[in-house]
């Protein structure tokens, strides 16, 4: 397979700086690179404020990137967007949002919410049939179409959000913490649904979360983000079997263990970049294997591997 078909999304050295005033700006994302293989799930983890949402929103062009390249199916979408490129992006990338209440307009009926992505000049009957089909696909009855969002539970609303995202038949779906507002059993249902849709339609996910255990379950590849930089990325096994970066290790050590006998002995590792003398700006991307990348200096890499 050639690279153009293999990688649906290639992000190179993406930066997103928000200007606060003339002198200050927030470097929400500061030089991040990753690629996502078609049909796979890329999990993006990191603490609150590390820039996960910003990456997702920049990829889908809710924000224009400060600099860097974003390639979708080999087409450059990083710079100024022409109307044509914008349409190309809209047709192929969709988003599922975090807050199941806020992401649905409380004044619109479900049918109109789900149909929003369709060309509005589609004939009414055809449009409605398509909406019913999506609703049924995500496990909601077509009877729900005439209701308003507040009449649903959080899990049902998130299903509506998924139906809205898949109705235009996108290739890549950015799921920004789309399950963190739901309770455990509902999270499982929604994740199962997303997995089924993936096998059915060959979807690719950029799955953003701060909960490493859920990311471990759903992702093929994982990127660990901290302070706007990708400190480590690789396949699920690279990250969980062979974590190198102390931040990754600290995140993994924080996952509670389901075994009540070992859980009390679990040691959470503290991570404090300045105290450990780690300056991200000095590090460069180092590949341990084809897939496994760590952001480090020569010296750091040696001590971490040893």
């Amino acid at each position: 397979m050639n690279t153009v078909n293999d990688n649906i999304l290639e992000v190179r050295d993406l930066k997103q700086h928000f200007r606060i005033d003339r002198r200050h700006s927030v470097k929400a994302v500061d030089g991040v690179s990753f690629t996502i293989k078609r049909g796979s799930t890329f999990g993006l983890v990191g603490e609150s404020g590390s820039g996960k949402s910003t990456i997702g929103r920049t990829v889908i062009r809710l924000y224009a990137p400060t600099c860097g390249s974003v390639k979708l199916n080999g087409r450059e979408l990083g710079g100024k967007l022409t109307l044509q490129m914008k349409q190309y992006l809209t047709g192929r990338v969709q988003m599922i949002f975090q807050d199941p209440m806020a992401s649905l307009n409380p004044r619109k009926k479900i049918i109109d919410i789900v149909a929003e992505g369709l060309d509005s000049n589609k004939p009414r009957g055809e449009r409605n049939e398509l909406v019913y089909a999506q609703l049924e696909r995500v496990g909601l009855s077509r009877e729900f179409a005439g209701r308003y969002p507040h009449m649903f539970s959080g899990g049902q609303r998130q299903r509506v959000g998924i139906a809205r995202a898949i109705i235009t038949d996108p290739e890549l779906i950015i799921a920004d913490e789309c399950i963190s507002a739901l309770d455990m059993s509902i999270q499982a249902q929604v994740v199962n649904l997303m997995k089924d849709l993936q096998t059915e339609r060959g979807l690719t996910y950029l799955f953003i979360a701060h909960d490493l255990s859920m990311v471990k379950y759903i992702s093929d590849y994982i990127g660990v983000l901290h302070m706007g930089r990708l400190v480590e990325s690789g396949t699920k096994d690279d990250i969980f079997q062979n974590p190198i970066h102390p931040y990754t290790k600290s995140l993994i050590s924080a996952i509670p263990e389901p075994n009540p006998l070992t859980e009390p002995h679990r040691i959470s590792r503290v991570y404090d970049a300045p105290a450990q003398g780690i300056v991200y700006a000095n590090g460069t991307e180092r590949y341990l294997t084809d897939t496994h990348m760590v952001l480090a200096t020569d010296g750091e890499l040696e001590t971490w591997i040893a």
Binding site: R57, Q98, P106, K108, I111, E116, S185
Partner: protein, 328 residues
Amino acid sequence: MTDRFAFAARDNAAADKPVENKPRWAETIAVFSKNKGAVIGFAFLLLMIILAIAGPMVSGYTYDGIELSRQNLPPRIQGIERLGIFNGTLGDRNMYEAKGYGGSYFWFGTDKLGRDLFTRFCCGVRISLIIGAISALLNMIIGVAFGLVSGYYGGKPDLLMQRFIEVLNGIPTLVIVSLLVIVLKPGMMSIIITMGLAQWTGTARLVRANTLRLKETEHVLASKTLGTSTVKILFREIFPNLLSSVIVIAMMSVPGAIFMEAFLSFVGLGIPNPEASLGSLINDGYQSMLLYPFQMTIPAVFFALLMLALNIIGDGLRDALDPTQRQI
């Protein structure tokens, strides 16, 4: 499958009953008509509108017909006069007999120039309602458009537009109103224009504040990622969500405009004689309040009821347009 979460035990979700898919306006009317207060208020408003249109035709008098021989007659209504009220007596003298109008009936009495007050009242309601409605409409259109644009686009345009509003707000409303009315010379048109110009800044600020909040919500972001046009985002995603506060403001601005017109009548800048408005009628009656209390009481009571009705209608409308108030 090993790859999936499995549920230990699972019961079927309670069966859902289908919801009728009625169009928006039908739902709105259904909810509105369930609100008794709002329906009564609406009926009262309708009655006033009918009076304003048809009143002068049925009264048999004109609003400006002066007849000094029938000055200051108290109200007299056929039928009801037998109950001992509205029988044309002042003290215990029947003023109608005394002045030689034994066969006439003036439902609301006459004023100091002998004009029929019922006819004048109907004309007054007409003018006050027109002033109130049009200036509220102007207020809403200008305020919403200004606020939406200012809030949604932000940045430089927002900065300029807000400074402009602040400058306008810095000048006391009364000064603007009085100056404009003098420049445009008193009359209904100039009062409407002035009212529209004086009130919209408050609406614009409210709309802008709400727009700033709403444009960051996830459903607006979702619309953007779905490729929805800016105009549609403004009118389908943002505007419906601030409609309820705009309606409340608009309904409050109708009484506001009528009051302002009444005030202008008080200082002599209102509707010029012989035309009448609710405000000028109350003002005229007020001058002989102790001798002929009916001249002021009747328009004042209707004025108060009208304000009340408008406020109740506004509340009912707001609830009816808000689907989150609706249950399955």
